[in-house]
């Protein structure tokens, strides 16, 4: 049976690949997977009080805000693969790519061995209890920035497992930024294994730029700086230090920043490059050429008053085959796939954004649903 082409596409008419969903990993869940002596630490943490993404020594956050009642900000969690599959079914999402919850903040730990052990435990836990081709749940290998050599080994280990389709690069509290040459082993391994790297941030107050926001009163100021500004800062350093030149087959994905900042980055960097080309000696072409080849997740999708402005924005960076859907389920600022599907895009662009581009990017073995 063929679909009536005059009808608008519905959620069941398209393949939906969600490039950002979050598996909640309480300390006690990772304890069996982590090396000693850190197992003792996670066992202790597991017996203590736990607030949402706010666990000292595990998910540190400098929360300076006075609370007010009944705000539903961010207290949903998904703790099992079964729960995730059921909830993605409710949202009509066919495939989910998994990111952590608490360990979104893993880059802040000063103890290198602890951070690396946490990363290894998370990857092992994900492999053991979450990822499944049959369930459409795929993993992003957590690359611990504090120990790039160990991260590279993890990428090679799990990259050989076809249930892992990407590498997660933590952004929150990161220092130095992802353009630094110290991370070359991570990029080398990701390129070798054919896994796209995905930068992902989270709300946090921390001494490292641009998270040093302890003086800022409002959460609606901190949140976009934690996300979009952090992504921009990392993109700038990756371009300037030639990551896309030195690793030409590496695919680079930015999550949880929407898309409207991309044209600014392109044009601003081109302007700088024209004036100070020695500032990016690795580049063979203007920065915008590289930025246009990267991928950008939709969430949090911009909702302009004139919805068609979003299409204009995507076209400004030739992004019709570079924008990929993400919901950020189950976080407080998630986007329902309907919100993106109902944007004033043509059917081909809708299919690409909702799933086809991601299917190609992550080499997913999922069939295209019959329309």
């Amino acid at each position: 049976m063929t679909r009536d082409s005059r009808k608008p596409l519905g959620l069941d008419d398209v393949l939906i690949v969600d490039c950002d969903v979050h598996a909640n990993e309480p300390p006690e869940a990772l304890a069996p997977y982590i090396d000693m002596p850190w197992r003792r630490s996670l066992e202790l943490l597991g017996r203590g009080p736990q607030r949402y993404l706010d666990i000292p020594g595990y998910a540190p956050i400098l929360n300076l805000d006075p609370p007010f009642p009944d705000r539903g900000l961010g207290n949903r969690t998904v703790t099992t693969a079964r729960q995730m599959r059921d909830e993605l079914d409710e949202l009509s999402i066919d495939v989910g790519i998994l990111f952590p919850d608490n360990l979104l903040k893993i880059a802040v730990f000063p103890h290198v061995d602890y951070a690396a052990a946490l990363g290894r435990a998370y990857n092992a836990w994900l492999a053991d209890a979450w990822v499944s081709r049959e369930e459409g749940l795929y993993g992003a290998v957590l690359a611990v920035p504090q120990d790039p050599k160990d991260a590279a080994e993890q990428i090679r280990t799990y990259g050989a497992d076809d249930r892992f389709v990407a590498v997660y690069l933590p952004v929150a509290g990161l220092r130095p930024l992802w353009g630094d040459r110290m991370y070359d082993p991570i990029y080398e391994a990701a390129e070798e294994m054919g896994l796209p790297v995905m930068l992902h941030s989270v709300g946090l107050i921390h001494p490292h730029f641009p998270f040093n926001l302890e003086h800022v009163e409002s959460r609606i100021v901190r949140h976009p700086i934690n996300h979009e500004f952090a992504l921009m800062a990392n993109l700038f350093t990756m371009i300037a230090n030639g990551v896309p030149v030195r690793y030409p087959d590496l695919e680079i994905v930015f999550t949880e920043g929407g898309v409207s900042w991309v044209p600014f980055c392109m044009w601003r960097m081109d302007k700088e490059y024209a004036e100070i080309p020695t500032g990016a000696p690795y580049l063979e072409r203007p920065p915008s050429d590289y930025i246009k080849k990267m991928y950008y997740c939709t969430q949090p999708i911009e909702e302009p008053e004139r919805a068609r402005d979003l299409l204009t924005m995507i076209d400004l960076f030739d992004g019709r085959d570079k924008v990929i859907f993400a919901s950020d389920w189950p976080h407080h600022d998630f986007d329902h796939p309907r919100t993106v599907l109902n944007m004033p895009f043509d059917a081909e662009l809708k299919r690409n954004i909702m799933g086809e581009t991601a299917r190609r990017l992550f080499k997913l073995p999922v069939p295209v649903p019959v329309a």
């Binding site: 009642p69 009944d70 539903g72 407080h332 998630f334 309907r338």
Partner: protein, 131 residues
Amino acid sequence: MPRIRVGPADDIQPGQPAFVRHGAIEIAVFRVDDGFRAYRNRCPHQQGPVCTGPVSGTLVATADTDWRLAWVLEGRVLICPWHSMEFDLDTGRRIRAQSERLRAFSIEVERGQVFVQVGPRSAPSASRQGT
């Protein structure tokens, strides 16, 4: 115009709406200070189940509060559980964005029973208890 019985007025307590269904439309009936309000359980933002959210108050800072934070509208602010968008239960309008509103339905209370009038789009309407 179809009329749906919701139930005894005394069973609908503040912050605990009663839900009824008319075809695909789910409607929540809230008790407010002077009676009841009925709204469709669908948020105008991303169509979340807005009426299942908590009823609380909100923060404002206006010239009337000397630009200092004040907690206002206690018991009148419906908060969508999906993205925390806030609506004034009295008017159905989104707080701080008056052009957006919940779809409202008329209410009648007869002999202690609450009824919702389900018909074409109706203005936010109130029914005082016992009228």
